[in-house]
Every structure is written in C-alpha cells, then in structure tokens.
C-alpha cells in the first residue's frame, strides 16, 4: 500500500459502500428540519413499531433470497398464524382444558409449528421436484389464505387473553414499544446466523453457486429446506405480533406484506439472484421504508400517493445497486 492511499480517506469508495446509509441519513436529516413532529423520541420509536411486522419477516427473507430462493406466501402466513393462535386459544378455553391465559401459549406454539411445517413442505417440493419457489409459494399463498379463511369461517377470531396484548402493543420501561424489541431480536438472530455460523456460510455458497456448493460437500437440500422453514417461522411470529396488536386473528391480515418485506431486502442491497446480501442492509432497508412512510404521513400525503412513492423507491434502489455493480465491473476491466 502506498503511503498516500494509507493516509487519505477514500471518500468515493466509502460513499459507494455505504450509499443507502448515506441516503437514509440525509432523508432523516431533511425530515428532522422540515417535518412537524418527526424528531421526537415518541415518533422515532413509532417508526420502529410500524415496521416491526414486515421487519421481522424481512430478516428471514434475507436468508431466503441470499440462498437463491424467495417466499411470496409470507403475507398469507401472517393471516394463518394470527387465525390459528386465536382459534386454538378459543377452542382450548371453550373445551375447558386450559384457561385462556395459558391456552394462548399453546396457540402460539401451534402457529409456529404450522409455519415450520409449511416451510418444510415448500422446501421439500423445491428440492425434490426442482420447482422454483416463486411458483410454489405463489400457489401456497392462495392455499394458506383459503385455509385461514376456512378456519376462521371468514370472521375475525377474538378469543385472546388481555395480557397477550402486551406482545403487540406493550411498552418496555414505559416508553419502548415491544414490537420494536422483536424486530431487534429478529435482526440479532439473523445477523448471528448469517455472519457467525457455518450454516450462514453455506447459505451464501448455495445461493452463489449451488453446483459448486454441492461438489464442495455442502448439503444443498438441507440448506434450501432450512431457509424456507426460517422465513415461514418468522412470518408466523409476525402473525402472532399482529394478532396481539389488534387482539384478533383474521384471514384478511397480511395482504401485500410480501411486497414490503421483499422491498426492504432489495433496498438493503441483497441480490435477487442469490449469493449476495447482508442482514445489516436489510435493517437499513426496513428503517428506510419506515422513515419514508412516516415522513409522508407527517406531511399528510395520501395513501394512493404513498403506493406510488414506495414503488418508485424500489426501482430507485435496484437501479442504484445495478449501477454500483456495473461501476465495479468497469473499474475491474480498466485495471
């Protein structure tokens, strides 16, 4: 390394590497000075609470997409999980097996286990019959919505105990929203798995080049099944949080959530082709979405316009990502 390169802070490389962070910083800064009521602890925590539902899933989705797969059924999985938790709780309480306060724990366990099974089925079909997960989960989306409507008979199920509300709407120390806590936990778990475990390395290898991974002795089938299970379990957890927030379970929950989730992952720089991506990037993506949404609300932007802005945002993020990759390649060629 030349002394000049050692001493000088390379601003262009830094800005390229932390592009999304920098943009997020400036947007936040703008909002702080222009949006009424943005810069208060209450509002900032509000941002985190609002993105928690999609956020929890997006960390699972990050692993799935890095592993070269995708799950479009996570929105429906939210509905099923919420409906199951409430229905199982109601059924147990009605039958007099357990009081509702404890029955809800069984309800949550059932919801998570069902998510796990669905994820396993998707992963099994993917690896056994070599059908793209894009198709499998598109089909599952309908199956799962139908099932949750069937279980709930089309009405919201409200058999949930009072304490359960804490999971979705409680506050730690009187100010910190509990859903934001789940978001941080999901982030931490995904971060540890992807960066510190053998399994995480395997996900990158499998997503980057499944054939090379297989010939290196990595169990590609197992990795693919686990990532499909992981995202479904995260979706089930998100369903539990949502049902706790509104104290009911309904088959109308979660519609369109998959788009928020996938947007966050892509804005965070994860490649839809697999092999490239960072859990930290998804955190940025999630906060980015939250801040933009919050800012628009504070400025009184209507719901219709919000959709347009969010759509353009995704395009913009992918464009940025592509340009970054291309400029890297160009730099290599000219070398």
């Amino acid at each position: 390394m030349t002394p000049a390169a050692g001493n000088n802070f390379d601003i262009s490389r830094f800005s390229k590497k932390y592009m999304m962070e920098i943009i997020l910083f400036f947007i936040t800064l703008t909002l702080v000075f222009s949006a009424p009521g943005f810069f208060s602890l209450g509002n900032i925590l509000n941002v985190f609470r609002n993105v928690a539902l999609a956020g929890v899933i997006s960390f699972g989705m990050t692993m799935t997409i890095i592993g070269g797969e995708i799950d479009l059924s996570v929105g429906s999985a939210i509905a099923l999980s919420a409906v199951l938790t409430a229905s199982v709780t109601g059924a147990l309480a009605k039958a007099g097996i357990l009081p509702m306060n404890q029955a809800v724990i069984i309800g949550m366990i059932v919801a998570v286990l069902v998510g796990l099974c669905i994820g396993y089925i998707i992963g099994f079909i993917r690896t056994r019959f070599n059908i793209p997960t894009f198709i499998i989960t598109l089909a599952m989306l309908n199956v799962i919505y139908g099932s949750s409507a069937l279980i709930s008979k089309g009405f919201p199920v409200t058999t949930l105990p009072d304490w359960y509300n804490w999971i979705g709407a409680g506050q730690l120390f009187g100010f910190f929203p509990v859903p934001a806590l789940w978001l941080l936990i999901a982030f931490a778990v995904a971060f540890v798995i992807m960066n510190l475990t053998r399994f995480g390395r395997e996900v990158y290898a499998v997503g980057g080049n499944p054939e090379s991974a297989r010939l290196s002795g990595i169990n590609v089938t197992k990795v693919k099944i686990i990532i499909m299970v992981g995202v479904q379990v995260m979706a089930a957890c998100s369903g539990i949080i949502l049902s706790a927030q509104v104290m009911s379970g309904s088959s109308t929950f979660g519609r369109g959530y998959e788009m928020d989730v996938i947007s966050a992952v892509i804005i965070g720089g994860t490649s839809l082709f697999g092999g490239i991506g960072k859990v930290w990037g998804t955190m940025i993506g999630i906060v980015f979405l939250g801040v933009i949404n919050n800012g628009m609300t504070l400025f009184g932007v209507g719901d219709f316009e919000k959709y347009i802005v969010r759509g353009l945002l995704i395009l913009f993020a992918v464009l940025l990502n592509t340009i970054q990759v291309q400029s890297l390649q160009k730099a290599k060629l000219s070398k």
């Binding site: 475990t197 053998r198 390395r201 080049n209 090379s212 010939l215 002795g217 990595i218």
Partner: protein, 495 residues
C-alpha cells in the same frame, strides 16, 4: 468455384499468441477439415472468420473480395454461416419456424403459414432430408437438431459454412446421417469448413485437412493421399515429454479400489485401483466418459452399479458430502460454474470444503478461517493482496489454485483432478503439476484427467485409457510415445 483466402492472420490474447501469421485457403465443393489439439488456435481462427473476433493483423477474402466484419451478424449478412456445437435453436418453436425464423412469408401484417411451411419443405427437399416440419424442436433428438441447424444456415445461401464439431454429441449411426447431409452440401457452391477432434472421421468425410499447432499452420494434406501418422505428426510435432521428478515413490498400500463401475450410456464396467502416493492418469477423448467416471465415483452423479473401497472401507451410495468426509476431493473441469462461487471472496471459497473444521460447534471461527485461507495462499503461492477480494480478481491459474486449496484444507487422502490445466498459462500449469507431485510426496494419491496427453505423460506414474465409455488399456508413460497413446485413445486399427 470460390475460395476463402486467409492471409497472415495474427491474434494475441493476454499471455498467449493464439494465432501467429497464419495463411491458408479453403475451396468450395470440398469438405475442408480444420484440426489440431486443444489450444492450437482452431477455435480462434473460426471466430475470426465468423466475425466474433477481430484479428490483430492480417486479412482474409473470398474470391478476392476483402472481408472485414464488425461482429458476427455482420459476417452472417455477408455470407458466413456458423453451426455451433451448442444449439442456437428455440425449443418452443416448430422445425419450420426455426429454419425460417425472422424470414416468414407474410400477408401484410400476418404470417402466411401455408407458404412458410411450403418454403421450409422446399429447403428440406433440396437437401434430400426428411424431417417433421410441424414438430416442436424440443421434441427432436440431438442429431435432428444438428440437421435443422445446418438447414437453417444453408437457407441463407451462405458462401462459407463453418461446422464446429457437429458430430461430438452424436452416436455412430447418427453421424452417418449427418455425413450424408454434408456430402449433399458439397454439390452446392459453398465453402465447407469442418472442425473436429475425431480423427478417424477425417478419412470418411474430409477432402483436405488443415492442421494448426500452437497458433501456427503446420500443414495441409489431401486425405486421399495422407496416412494417419502424417496427420499425427503435423498435430504433435516432436513432442518433448518432460521427466517426472525422480523422488516420487508409490507405496504398495491400495487407498482406492473402484470395480465394475457402470453408468449407461456414459461408461461401462470400469475398474481401477490407486495406491498411496500414486498419480494415476485417465486418458481419453471428449465423450470417452472419463469426467463422468470421476463424478460418479465422487458421488456427484449416481452410478448404475459398481463398488468403491476407499481406505479399506467399502462405500455404498456415495455423495459429494459423504465422499469428502471420507477423504476424497474433486476439482471439477469447469472451475467457474462448478468449482467456485465467483461472487464470494477468495477466503470464503478456500474454506468451502472445510466449513466443519473452521466452525467448531457450528459457529464460524473467523481467526481459524483466515488461518485456513492464508496457509493455502502461502503454500500454493496464490497471487493476491488479500483473501477478502472476490474470486473474479484472480487469473485463471490462481483460481485453479483456489479450487485445489479449498480441497487441501479438507485434508483429503485422494484428489481427483478433472482437466486441472484447462485455460491456464504454461507457468501456472507447471505450478499445478508441482502441487500434484507435492501431494504425492506427502502420501496423497491423485487421479488426473486431461485431454492434453503430453501432460499426462509428464505428470502420472501410470495411465489408464478409456474410449467411448470402455476401458481399453493401461500404460506406463516411460513405455509409450504420445502418438501411440493418441492412437489408443482414438481407436481404429489404422491409427
């Protein structure tokens, strides 16, 4: 009659001179074979003629009209048609649509299917071929696709047609059908250039053979007069086979015993044994089943039958996972798509076969990972400033070393090398050989597959020969010349 003249063509790639002042000519009405071993420059010459490459120096012309192309479609417009090995057909369209793609008969904005099919039928009749015109290409067999490709190329009335190894994927009787078609082409005023690696075909189909070696023209022979040994001499020249280091000892202990291995139709009933520290070569032409054999023993593909005894233990149902755990390593022939994860770092790739060792208890120990990566960078002299750089920052030779290093980290007992020297320069090649010998000194055995026979003669203790999926013999490098080895691989008594 027309003539394609190539004058003083030179093409340089970073590190190699692919073509060096090559001048030759091809006449119409004849099948002009273009031959030479791998890397002799024949593909480069083909790509210059069809506009894929622009020569650094030299010109070529057809009947005195200078040809200069910007790109392949430009060349195509000026009458140069190429039929590639890899099919360029669209599987979801019919035979007729594929032949006439982009040139359908129309009625205003609508396609006139009746006339289009009639036109396609006319083209088939002209060449004396019978094919179901309405069948979708996806339902055709490989030789039928090959025929469609040729008809499609000929339908544009080209001046030159380049056939790039058209028989490489075909069985014997299918080859005959293709030859009949090619003989039909001779009646038309078109310059046929035929690239092949199957030497025995030359006497059957070619009128002349032009031979390249190391980017230079070594000669042109008339097949009516040429003897096989003349052609071999032109291909190989006086090959100097370098000696293997003398200190490579082979013990009597057998580490790998493969018997009766069969995977129809790729290979049948192959048996071999490998001793500790031994370097065993498998010689054979493309399609001899050598790569498929290695893959099946490693468990990457599922064999029909056969047994494996590795380190004294019988192995049933091999898979890459179980075989690598048992101490077998495999460096595949295509490192880009099978050996490496290009988008990940050098360090990551070096640890891919030893993730268990670098992550005790399931958690990656980054220090250990760095150590594993660094020790291979040092031992194999991988040229890089940091193991955090992406794979794409390395040259071919260094990428190959990463594939080898990845496996050395797993501490194998036996390593399979499939085409270890493909696409790397001479110096890197020697370094790879050194690595193979170093492993032999440490008591690690290797099986090496290569199309470069002189390399096998240099590297191996012993060579087994496969032809069309069968075992045909075993030789020791010191007892055989390269021509003899080549003849055994090619088969045919006359060779």
């Amino acid at each position: 009659m027309s003539v394609l003249n190539v004058r003083n063509i030179t093409k340089v790639f970073p590190g190699t001179k692919a073509l060096d002042d090559v001048s030759l000519s091809f006449e119409s009405g004849k099948v002009n074979a273009l031959i030479g071993k791998n890397g002799c420059g024949k593909s480069t010459l083909v790509k210059i003629i069809n506009g894929a490459y622009i020569p650094d120096d030299g010109t070529f012309d057809i009947d005195g009209v200078a040809m200069k192309f910007e790109n392949p479609s430009d060349a195509f417009d000026k009458g140069i048609a190429t039929v590639y090995q890899e099919m360029s057909l669209i599987p979801g369209l019919s035979v007729a649509e594929n032949i006439l793609i982009g040139r359908y008969e129309t009625n205003g904005a609508f396609v006139d299917w009746k006339r289009t099919y009639a036109k396609a039928q006319g083209l088939l009749d002209e060449m004396g071929i019978d094919l179901p015109l309405r069948e979708l290409v996806v339902n055709l067999s490989v030789w039928q696709c090959q025929v469609v490709e040729i008809v499609k190329a000929m339908s544009c009335r080209p001046k030159v047609i380049l056939l790039d190894e058209p028989t490489s994927a075909l069985a014997q009787h299918q080859t005959q059908i293709l030859f009949r078609l090619i003989r039909e082409l001779k009646k038309k005023d078109v310059i046929i250039i035929y690239i092949t690696h199957r030497l025995q075909e030359l006497w059957e189909i070619a009128d002349t053979s032009t031979v390249l070696r190391d980017g230079r023209l070594t000669g042109k022979v008339n097949m009516a007069e040429a003897q096989p040994r003349d052609v071999l001499k032109l291909m190989f020249g006086d090959v100097e086979v370098k000696d293997r280091p003398a200190d490579l000892a082979v013990s009597d202990e057998v580490v790998l015993e493969v018997s009766g291995f069969t995977l129809s139709p790729k290979f049948e009933d192959i048996s071999f044994s490998l001793r500790k520290g031994e370097v065993l070569g498998i010689a054979g032409m493309l399609g001899s089943g050598r790569t498929e054999l290695l893959r099946a023993v490693f468990g990457a593909d599922h064999a029909d039958s056969g047994t494996i005894v590795l380190n004294g233990e019988s192995v049933s149902n091999p898979s890459p996972r179980t075989m690598s755990q048992r101490g077998l390593a495999f460096t595949p022939e295509d490192r880009k798509t099978q050996g490496l994860v290009q988008m990940l770092s050098i360090g990551d790739n070096l640890c891919h076969a030893s993730l268990g060792q670098v992550s005790p208890g399931g958690f990656v120990n980054t220090k250990l990972m760095r150590m594993f990566a660094d020790r291979q960078v040092e031992a194999l002299e991988i040229k890089t400033t940091s193991t955090d750089l992406p794979m794409t920052s390395l040259s071919g030779g260094n990428q190959q070393k990463v594939v080898v290093g990845k496996w050395l980290n797993a501490e194998p007992k036996v390593i399979f090398f499939d085409e270890p020297s493909r696409g790397i320069d001479v110096k890197a090649k020697q370094q790879i050989f050194q690595i193979i010998w170093d492993q032999s000194r440490r008591g690690i055995s290797s099986v090496v597959v290569s199309s470069e026979l002189e390399e096998l003669l240099e590297v191996c203790h012993r060579i087994i020969i496969m032809r069309l999926g069968r075992f045909v013999g075993e030789v020791r490098p010191e007892n055989v010349t390269i021509e003899q080895l080549y003849s055994m691989c090619m088969g045919g008594e006359e060779l």
